[in-house]
Symmetry: D3
Subunit: 241 residues, 6 copies
């Protein structure tokens, strides 16, 4: 969908910035719905999840099309998605926010991790969530859910634009996840958002230091007073940021 | 998606049977989720809506992709859907059950009706609902909604399998709507369901007559007593059904 | 559950008073949750629905217990409820506010009406709603729903205390329905509530007349001014109320 | 809150335009949340509701502060709102989208109508809804609800900015309601929105005529073809619009 | 309700299998709704919860029936349930998914644990949740909730079939809980499900080992390739499973 | 709003009692809705949060009024609330239960903590939740949410009565939070509730000891047997409570 190839530099920047900063940077550009709502880390991780979106679309399962035997089919889209998600990508699943059944379990997600994916996000459930939590690869879900995906979800399409947690996700969009949740950065904006957020984080680190030293918010955050601005410049020099 | 072509005979049968009968006939075959939930007639009509599904899929609107000017694009999928929905088909729209914005208004739906469509179903909103209500063509929606679809919905795909009101809808599935709502009949079952339902309705008409004459339900509905069965056979002969 | 037998006098009073007045009278006694939430008339009627509750409890349907053939069982609780609901009673169904399937259809409700029931209330769906609407007997539901009750609901218990639309309903409680909806009056309060409401309605008719003649609300409703009180006494004498 | 005084000309224009047109005109200006969600006409009216907002804010009722006797207080904000809402204004109530209790009943709304208000909008319930439906003044609500407002809602503030159906409403904003629902026009935009919508409606009337005569949507709506533009100009001249 | 007595062998098997496996085994038998939705461990435990269901049904609390003094009644069903739940059983409470009030607190649940119950499940709230979390006995709830159950829930029936988290629960059904949540196994299926799941878990442990060694999913899970099958047989022999 | 000044004695008592006890004590006085629903600790703390409410009211954000630049305004109510919340008070935010956007982030909440506030409660989201979790000051929220408050919420009023999680909160009401959640004590009841709860907790500690020693609930909790009462008196003497 997008020809954008994320550079190592942008990847490195996005590893260090918060979803809150990304949300603000997108807000300034008029994009208000890029946070995937209702999705939580299966287990918090030390590092951000960063990678382009590779998508899987589910529709409601019709019983006659979804006997347990469909998984024997080598073309089953859920299995194919797990085996074809490119290295460094994030598998994003549209389960219509219906977590009454799983969209995957620990065996498939372990395979996904071993294949080198950067993470997985679903607005449905995950089963064997404890096994998924134990992986190094970050995973985001609505909640644990024991029932097999066949109960409610038929895997249908791979790498088409989808909805996930009420956010639009186009294949190739850059997903960034931290403990607050997951932001979707439109691919064409990834470089500039990454750059802008590095600056925001630098300033916020300075502000947090000032606040911890007793500074008031007004005039400092955002910076509307000249002497705060000067202190920030000094802080940047001193800290190399 | 389906090669099934509905015959005139099946069409005629489905014009006369209720969605309740269809739901029961599908239930007997293990299909429990074919009723489009949360969707109501814009205005009740005298006749059933009957036709194969032609689908339109919306995803959440990203602000930069959905300025008002996109409608000037001759390829805009919503407009294309209206102009390409085949005669006798039902346009079915997947709006992710989000009726906070419209999925179409009276001008487009009037055009759809004039092009010969059999009806329209959306699990989102419709605007200018009064104008739509006045058309002969049946329309089903979640509720009236003034905001343009661009506010929340980006029209994306035409004639792919979708979710509508939590039911799976494959292009070519046969939709039947009455005042209770809309059922989705998998294409390959349409002929047998139509036939079975004609029989069910015949029996239910007999039962209703008996009940109005003071008969009790137990033993009659379903028919487990021999003499009810005989009375029904006599009724059928007398009434030619 | 209750030995209370409603007198003809109380029945006659409750035929004339509004659910709004009943709600206020119960509110004065500390009862705040006696309105059945989320339930609407299938079709508005000219007269109030009034009668003691006869209850039917559904639980979620387990597939192996609910094949279509269970209706052949003469003991099926839904059928038994229809055939045993006493004359003048209201059949109240607990469907856990889940209207994705019906709790009854027009044949059963027609039988119920012919047997002399005073009405039916369900917090689930009704199928063939148009047929039910056409009956003289009032019916209240969450919405039309084509799927058979077996899809989601197993009829289990008759005449036990239930929840209906988040209100507690004990067998024998007096239900009153108008176009606003349905109130549940605990049986032991029915006589005094009926009497009190007749007085409230008398006063409110007077107030409405005054308002239509240009009177202000404050001091009049509730009546805190002496001369309003005197005018009301005069009005009562003149109108025999 | 706003010094804007709506002119008769703007009032007259807004009487004739649809909420759908207003939503689109506001959308073009970046305002996406001005439709009051989840609110319906108590009974459809022939004419638009048009008027500046006069607001009433409810918070959750604390039992000790809301005995039935509070209505005897001449300062009770609900009563005061009814008696002080200026002529031609729309009373807009913030009930936190909780319709499990009423926010007013027919006596108060009758008084409001007689005092010359242009309408009433609540995102909660209304009781004695049938009496309210019978008034000439338009009323919008979430649904009928018998319980007195004291059950869940304490009237607190008059004419402060509120939320109604998830839309921001500032006192003096111009409300327009038709059968689709209610739009909130920020006061400072009312004149230009009214003017723009008159033009949109003129064009849409032309388009609808063309569609009824067999024209296709693409190229016509929006108008991207020269000859459609010329036909429209001719139509305007002929019809004086 | 059920005469089934769980054997030690079945109990031991169910201690070792996951709710995900149970869900799949039931799915194969056409049972799709046996997962208790919206219910989470108060604190994750090392071992599965396993035991037959002993049920408690709440209905909405009517204020006059639920003063704080009702707990002084030796027959209060909530207290009786705590004192009569058989050793090794799981107390399952139907709170209509309403967690705005508790269904029990730490004192009662401590007593239940000391009496030898296998666990507790409620689709309502629990208060003093930290005290409950500290017990060895597993507990599942919707969320912490400080208000006493009397606020919203009247304990009514003991050991009748109920709904819990939208799943049907019959007394004597076997409940199994792990960190994903709780499955309800119909009593008559417990032995065969336990046996089948032991086999599934054996195979899944093998698969997980293969995946960790780099194997692809397709052809392995489910096993459709002959050589995977042979490797599995070898693995079973080697590992004694 | 309230002239009540909490004494050190009451503060100390409330530090030691549970929200469950407070809920019961308020229930005895007819107050059933003082638990803030749907709000959870960002991270559990060892001590109770105790302090008078200082409130901030948000309404839905209108896009033209909420560009990112509004934070430069020294009067922005969110910033002013952070800088003026009195020492020892709890900042309580009304976000209409809409957690799709944040109501504050870690910099502001760090400043609030450093200024000596007793805690923060919002029924919306918080961003940089991990930074907030790390503070000593307790914080309660609906869930983490990366988007800036401007996305959905306009900060409007300071220290007016609000709704938070469906509970009424008046400035000066005493908030107490533990791991179950947050209770709102009307200011005029704080002293008597604190005193009563100390007694309840004393008794419950005794009961828990008895239960751990094998005592049954009935007759003990509540205490209806004489010898339990005597044992309790002895326990009090021995333990100085």
């Amino acid at each position: 969908m997008s020809d954008y190839i994320m550079s190592d530099a942008t990847h490195a920047k996005l590893k260090k910035v918060s979803t809150a900063s990304i949300a603000t940077a997108l807000y300034k550009r008029g994009l208000r719905n890029q946070f995937i709502q209702g999705v939580f880390p299966v287990r918090p991780k030390q590092e951000n999840m960063v990678g382009p979106a590779f998508t899987l679309r589910y529709i409601p399962a019709r019983e006659d099309r979804n006997p347990i035997t469909v998984f024997r089919n080598a073309d089953h889209p859920q299995r194919v998605a797990i085996e074809t998600c490119p290295v460094g990508h994030v598998l994003v699943m549209d389960a219509r926010k219906d977590a009454r059944a799983a969209t995957a379990g620990s065996i498939l997600i372990t395979r996904l991790a071993l294949r080198g994916a950067a993470g997985v996000v679903t607005d449905g459930g995950l089963r064997d969530a404890e096994g998924i939590a134990a992986l190094d690869m970050p995973a985001y879900f609505a909640r644990p859910s024991a029932p097999t995906n066949l109960t409610l979800h038929e895997a249908l399409d791979i790498n088409v634009p989808i909805s996930c947690g009420d956010a639009p996700v186009f294949p190739g969009d850059i997903l960034v996840g931290d403990n607050d949740g997951v932001m979707v950065i439109p691919a064409h904006l990834a470089d500039e958002i990454a750059e802008e957020c590095v600056g925001m984080e630098s300033f916020e680190d300075f502000v947090l230091g000032e606040v911890r030293n007793g500074a008031a918010i007004i005039g400092l955050y955002p910076c509307t007073k000249e002497d705060h601005q000067q202190r920030y410049e000094a802080w940047r020099k001193k800290n190399g940021r």
